[in-house]
Subunit: 201 residues, 2 copies
Amino acid sequence: MIRLILAEDEHLTRSAVATLLGMEEDLTVVGQAATGEEALEAIRAHRPDIAVLDIEMPGLDGAQVAEHVATHHPGTRCVILTRHARPGVLRRALAAKAMGFVTKNTPAATLAQVIRTVHDGGRYVDPELAATALDNANCPLTDRELDVLRQVGPASTADDIAAAVHLSPGTVRNYLSSAMRKLQARTRTEAAAHAREHGWL
Amino acid sequence: MIRLILAEDEHLTRSAVATLLGMEEDLTVVGQAATGEEALEAIRAHRPDIAVLDIEMPGLDGAQVAEHVATHHPGTRCVILTRHARPGVLRRALAAKAMGFVTKNTPAATLAQVIRTVHDGGRYVDPELAATALDNANCPLTDRELDVLRQVGPASTADDIAAAVHLSPGTVRNYLSSAMRKLQARTRTEAAAHAREHGWL
DNA sequence: ACAGGTTGATGACAGCTGTCATCTGTACTG
DNA sequence: CAGTACAGATGACAGCTGTCATCAACCTGT
C-alpha cells in the first residue's frame, strides 16, 4: 500500500483528486494540505511514501517544499503538479530533487500510474514538457541581461533596477536594450514577460 | 436524476470532479468539455439539466457559453466555476443569466448541493464572493477609463490604444492619467494590473 | 607585452509618457 | 433659456525610454 499526502490550494481539485486516488486499490491518502506549510506539517506527522505537491501555492511553494523534503525526509519522494507547463518551473522542480513532474492536463489515471512509478524508484517527466525543456539551452540572454530582466516590474524605473543590481542606470538601459532586441520585444515589460514565459527568468 | 455536463480546461480537475459528481445518487455526468466550443456542442447534443462551466477556458469562456445557453437552450441552467473570486467575473456571470456561482475553493460536496439547488430553481452565489462583490460599487473608474485600461498591454503605445478605442492619442493619455491617479499607480501597466486584480477590468 | 573579449559607464538624441491648463461641442436639468 | 456637467481634443513641458557610438578598465590567452 502506497501512503501519500496531497498538497493543492484549490479545495475542489484537492478533494476530488484525493477521493479519486483513494479509490485505487494500492493507494491511500493519509493527509491533505492547502499551503506549503501545511504540507510540511503533514509530511512530518505522517511520513508518507509520496508527496504530491502543487507548485502554485500561497506561502511556501511546491518546489520549496520538495527541497526541504529532500534534505529532511529522505523516505518521502515528491511528485510535482503544475498548471502551466513552463520549462523554468521544471528546472526548479528537478533542482529540488522531485522525482515526478506532471501537468494538470494529464488524466487522473496517469497521475496514479506516475505515483506508482516514482514509488518504485523511477522518474517521470511530462512528455510535452520534456520537449519544450530544450528551450532552456536555447536561452540567448547573458547572465547580466537576466539579472536586469529579473528586476523588471510593472512600475519599475531604470534607477530602481540600477539600485537593485548595483549598476549605473545607463548600463541597465543598455542591457535591457540588447535583451529586447534578442527577444524581439518593444518594451522592457514585454521582454520580461517573454523571458518568464520561456522560464528563463 | 439530474443530468449535467462539465466544462473545464484542466483535464485532471475535470476528470476527478466528474467522477466524484457521478458517484452521487441523483447526479449523472452525460458529457465533458475542455473548451467553450466543446461545451456548446455537448449541450446541443445532450440537452442536460445543468451545465457546470469553468470561466477560464481557451476560446469561448464560461460566461459567453452561459449567455448563449440562456437564449438558445432555456431547458439548461448554468453553474459557473472560477478560480479567482473576483467581483468583475461575478458581474459578467450574473449578466449571462448564470444561476450558480462557485469558486474552486469550495469542497466537492458543496458543488453537488449547489447543483441540486439550481436544478430546483434556486440561485447560489459563493458567500465569500457576495461580500467582496460590494467592491463593484466601490470602483472609482469611469466607463471611458475602463475602456482605455482594458486595451493596456505590456507593449501597447498610446496610438495603439487610441486606434482600438477610436479616440485621439492625447485623450487616451488623459484618461490613463486620471485612472492612474485614482488607483495610485505610477504607470499604465500598474494601473491595469490593479484594476484586473479588483475585477474591474 | 599585446591583441581581443567581457563588463561597465557616459553622453547624445528621437520619441514616448504623465501631467496640466485650456478649448470645444453636446446633452442634461432646473 | 441659462447653467452645468461631461466627453473629447489640443498644446506645452519635464522626465523617462530605447538606441547607438564611444570610452575605460579589466581579465585572458598567446
